[in-house]
Symmetry: C2
Subunit: 327 residues, 2 copies
Amino acid sequence: MATPNIGFDPQAFRNALGTFTTGVTIITTQAEDGSPVGITANSFNSVSLNPPLVLWSLSKKARSLPVFSTGKHWNVHVLSTEQESLSGRFATQGEDKFAEIQFDSGISEAPLLQDCTARFQCRTAFQYEGGDHVIFVGEVLAFDHSERAPLAFQSGQYALATRKPRSELRLATTPPPPECSYTEDLLGYLLGRAHYQLLNALRLLLNNQQLDEQAFFILSVLCIRDNLSLEEINTFVNYTGHEVTLPSMRFLERQNLVAIEGVPGQQRFVLTANGREASLQQLALAKLVEEDLSAKLGPADAQALKVLLKRLIVVSDPGLPDLWAPR
Amino acid sequence: MATPNIGFDPQAFRNALGTFTTGVTIITTQAEDGSPVGITANSFNSVSLNPPLVLWSLSKKARSLPVFSTGKHWNVHVLSTEQESLSGRFATQGEDKFAEIQFDSGISEAPLLQDCTARFQCRTAFQYEGGDHVIFVGEVLAFDHSERAPLAFQSGQYALATRKPRSELRLATTPPPPECSYTEDLLGYLLGRAHYQLLNALRLLLNNQQLDEQAFFILSVLCIRDNLSLEEINTFVNYTGHEVTLPSMRFLERQNLVAIEGVPGQQRFVLTANGREASLQQLALAKLVEEDLSAKLGPADAQALKVLLKRLIVVSDPGLPDLWAPR
C-alpha cells in the first residue's frame, strides 16, 4: 500500500475513486420548454427497497442542473454493452444528444430511451447537498429490465463484467500434487484444450467426414482469399507449426476440394465449387458450435472472452499478414 | 423491453437494480466500547472532488446503524479480486468478522484493512434520510490505492471487470468484404490463432530446439502422470485429433526423452531424466510466455481470460479423463 495521501492531488483521488467499478447510466428529463435533456452518469446507486429509492449526483457546474433541480421527473437508463457510443454522446456537452433517437412513452414527459439493460422512471424525492455536486434521490415509479448485457466502467475505461465463479473453478476433480508444477492453470494448457475441444465439437457435427485440422485451415484460407501459391498459403498458416506441402495440396485435389492451376514451380491453388461448399459448411457448423457455447457461457461472458482473445492475439502477434486485406 | 412494473414485485425491483454493476466495499468503524465493526456494501459511490466526498447507504435495520450514526470516522475499503471471502465474511451477521485480521493504523481508530484495491478514510459529513436506508456522506481525509485488480458485483454474483476497447478491436486492418461470411469474429478462429501464437512464442524461446506440438503434449502428459500405455496416453490427447502412435513414441525414444518398457503389445512409456528435464524446461518457458502476455493484458484481464477459458472448457468438455487424478 502506498502512503496515505493527505492534502489531495485531485488526479490521484480520481484514480483511487475510479477503482470502484460501476455501471453506466444516462439520466434524462424534460426542460420547461419541452426540450429533452440527458447526461451520462456513473454515480447511480440503489438506496431503498421500500419505499423504492435510487440516487445519483450531478455537478453544480452542470448546465443541466437547473432543469433537474426544478423538474420533478427523470429516468435512469442502465446502458447495455451495445450502447457505449450513446454513453459517449451523452457525456459530451453541446452535441445534439437526442438527434434521431426514438423514445418509448413513459409515465412522465422525460425521454425514455430504448434498448437499455434496465430503466427506472423516477420522481425526485430529495435533493441533498454534496459538496461540488447535488445528490438526487428519486422515488422509482416504474421500472423494467431486459436481458441485454450491461456496460461497466472501471478506472476510466469501459469494461465488461464477467461472472466470477463463487469458488475457484477447477477442471480436475482433485488438486494437483504439490510437486507437480504443471497445472491446469497454465494459460497455454487452457488455450490448447479450449481450441481442441471446440475443434472436436465441430468434428462430431461433421459426422465422420474426416476433418484434418490442416485441411480445415487451408480451406478456410482459400475461402477468404482464393488463388494462392503454396508460399502464400504458408504465410497465413506457418505460425501453427504445420507447414503446408505440395502433397497435402494434392491430397485435397484428389478429394475434389482444391484445383491446382499453372505449371510446376508456379502452381496456384483455387477452391473447387465442392471445396467452397465444404468450407462454408464447416463455417456454418463452427458458428453453430459457437452459438451453443455462447448460450452456455451467457452472451456477455462470450463477448468478453472474444474481446480478451483478440487482445491476446494482438499482444502475441508474430506479425501475421492480414488475411482479409484487399489485394 | 418488458412492460413497466408498477406496483413493485420487490424481487423484480432488486433484479433490475442488480443489473447496475458495482464494486464491492467493506466499511469499518469502531464502536464506543472499542470493538471493531464492519459491513460489506456495494452502495458506495463518489460524490464530490472538492471537497472530497463519498457516500454509501446502510439499512435502518442494520445492527451496526447506531454505531455508524454516532461514530464520526469510518473507512471504505474497495476490495480486490483476492478478497472475495472477506466480502462474504463481512456480509454475514454474527460471525467474528475481525478474527485474525491485521489492521494498518489509520488517522482514526476505525479499522484499516490490508491488501485492498483502494481505501478511503472518512469523517461523516452528512447523514441523509433514504427510505429504509440512511445515506452516509463522508469527507475523505486520506486515501491510498494499489494495483490490485478490483472485485466487481453484477446481478447478484461476484464478477471481474475486463477492459473493453474503446472502439471494436479488429485484428485485420480492413473489414472483411460483406460476401465473406468467415470473419475474424469466429470464436473458433480466435481460439485457434491464440493457441498457435502462444505455442509459436514458446517455440521461439526454445530456440531452434524442434518443438513438435504432439511431442509437447506427450511429454506434458508423461510429466504429470508417468508410466502409461499407448492407449492411456491417447485417452488424454486424442481429443486433439492427433493420435499418438508407436512410431511417434519410438521417435521420442531415439531422442532419449522417453524410455519404452515391457514386451511388445504391453509396452509402457516413461520419461527419461532427460525427457523430464526437457518437459520442465518447456513448462518454465510456457510460464515465461504467460507472464509476458499477462503483463501486457493486465493482471485482472489475464485472470478473467483464464476464468472464461475454464468455463468454456467445462461446457465443451467431451468427457476427458482427469489428468491429475490420483491413481
